[in-house]
Symmetry: D5
Subunit: 96 residues, 10 copies
């Protein structure tokens, strides 16, 4: 089941550089593990912004919430979620 998630990150400018670097490193590792498992199906940067568009493929809303809310940057992100489904005009087998 697919969900479209937009994440806008806003780190406090006063956060020490090494704390920010640590947060980002863990975030990246978790993100890549989820991509490898097929749970985080797509991940793009929005040009010119500290934001991404992601497509998650999960078994339930509970799973989606667990994955997103345990990201280390979660407390610093504004998040928008939209459920996606098969479009009747799609010809791609995996757009579902």
């Amino acid at each position: 089941m697919l969900f479209h998630v937009r994440m806008d990150v806003q780190l406090p400018p006063a956060m020490p550089a090494d704390q920010a670097a640590e947060l980002k490193a863990v975030e990246k590792a978790q993100s890549q593990a989820l991509q490898a498992q097929g749970k985080w199906r797509h991940l793009w940067r929005i040009g010119g912004q500290y934001s991404n568009v992601s497509i998650f493929d999960v078994d339930s809303v509970d799973e989606l919430h667990t994955l997103v809310s345990t990201l280390p940057l979660f407390p610093y992100m504004k998040i928008e979620v939209m459920p996606l489904c098969r479009h009747p005009s799609s010809i791609r087998d995996d757009d579902r």
Copy 2:
């Protein structure tokens, strides 16, 4: 080059059913041709709405504009465009 496009369709309720059906049939054919060419890379329905999220892969903004503005439903759609680029945490080769 990737662009994220959201399209919200609003057909006038007074439009005759066969005119609407004709518009939708041509729209579907153009969409599927563009998908087959790899220009319209992803197409999802937003659950519960007459709206879609699409990813276009084009050579220029001019090409994007030509593809979108010649869709037969273009006069009836509210459209939002965001440029996408490679995310440094992405592990998928084709998310670019």
Copy 3:
């Protein structure tokens, strides 16, 4: 799987009364059938508005979209969807 759906209805004032009545009667019948099946779990009127808040319990986003988009009032409604999940403080067995 639960989805929170808000529907705001706006019928054109010029719609003939019997056409509106027919639409509403079919809408009511479909809604009550879905409630009886447990798919449309809750349905409340928002006080003072021609709007409702609904909780759907469906197997997939595709099923949600099919149920909502085939309602006869669908072309006249503005719809907002939010996925819901279990709250860690909930004590009600069926709030999931």
Copy 4:
């Protein structure tokens, strides 16, 4: 009498972890006591967000205000309230 309440929580990232844990523990206890009394009828997490949708069943707006404004997270929440009433198409006895 039913009220639909949406709560969006925003804790300051600088809040010490034990202070946050204490606030959340008291919040949970109060919430569960109110659920046990039937005052807080439903409680769902909104997927991907530190937010909930709740249905309160109270005797008056004064009671609603007292219950909500004495939650320990109240100073950290953005709250939206909508009065609900019986929908004429509802077939559930307790959706009122």
Copy 5:
């Protein structure tokens, strides 16, 4: 129980003058009857706009909805409702 209701009226400019006059006359009569019963406790015009601010004193949200949704201008109004309660600093006996 008190509710704060804002009503913004938008009549179609093409509505025949006598139909508008008839709607307004019935609206006025219903409003004044509800005021006489104490249900519609206050009614003010917002300066410079075809809008009003009203305070309703009703027994339930269901009663509020019935009163508002049966006004003849209801199909032409945008309506916002806020529940009100006793303010701890109020010294007026009837501000509740």
Copy 6:
């Protein structure tokens, strides 16, 4: 002359409890004095929010501004003002 004023209070969570208590005590005293003089004609709490709806009866906009801007919570409030006037359907002598 009547003005509709909505005040949303947002105290910094870090404000010491006794400073907040002092501010609120002075605010309450000023509010009640103005109510006693008939300048602050109505005062209601908005259910579930740290907000109020007030009706001021003043001789001029200057007087309104002086009364509101000298409240001790003024620096912590978001304020919206709407001028009110007699509604042609009102039957209450004092709704003006």
Copy 7:
């Protein structure tokens, strides 16, 4: 007493040209009469828009409402009103 009024005009494109011309001519005459009386103290066009910013000097909100709501373009305008008062830094005698 001063009020800041913004008026955005939206005539239906289908309105016959002579009806529009007649409305505008009467609007202009009323506006100029009110300017001559000192009631409509300033009137500016907002560059690039069919909108104006006006300053009214009236004795009451009722007078403001009567003047604005009897303009022939009133049914075709979106109107915003803000009460103004003396600014403590103003050195102009008539900015009040």
Copy 8:
């Protein structure tokens, strides 16, 4: 050339009182000097808010920007600018 400028001031509550007083004193002096030169043509307080509406009469956008951006409160203000021009219905010689 006229520009309509709205300024909303938001001083941090934690700013020391003498720093705020100094900022406001310099702001007032600059504002009054510009008014005396005819550059800042009107200045009104918006009732109930720490905001003003101003009309500037300048030779260029560059001059406007220099005047506004060198105000001592500039870092603490949200500013909106609209260009104004002669209204064809205006009868005042100086409303241009």
Copy 9:
């Protein structure tokens, strides 16, 4: 003097094709004449939308208003105007 103008066009779908074509042809001719005169300095299409971003170089706000409001598509456009000035970091002689 430079102004940034965004124009969003919305033609009624029911407008006859030849009327639309005529409007667009005249619009194009006027636009190109103004570009040739240097008044309409830049003109870009916003990708995927029936909208443009334009830079006007005019002697006054009155001239800007005359140029924009006499475009044949003016009644069908939503227009936003922002005054521009020299940026202190610009190295281009004509960005003023």
Copy 10:
């Protein structure tokens, strides 16, 4: 390929003056280097605001993102991006 970028800068008032000056000096140097290379094609100040409108001419969205996100003021800016393309009515060779 052209992108329209709006940047709104918000420096924390508490930032030490020399830190702000250093950030701005580096920002200016990077901006001017990019202008000299033709990557940052236009740069204007929005009158009365700490904001700019810029036109970037880049080879890809990735290049745009790299240029913008490495500006020293990036963490303090709200940024909006719109892709631009050739307008069919443009007569300027370089508006593409």
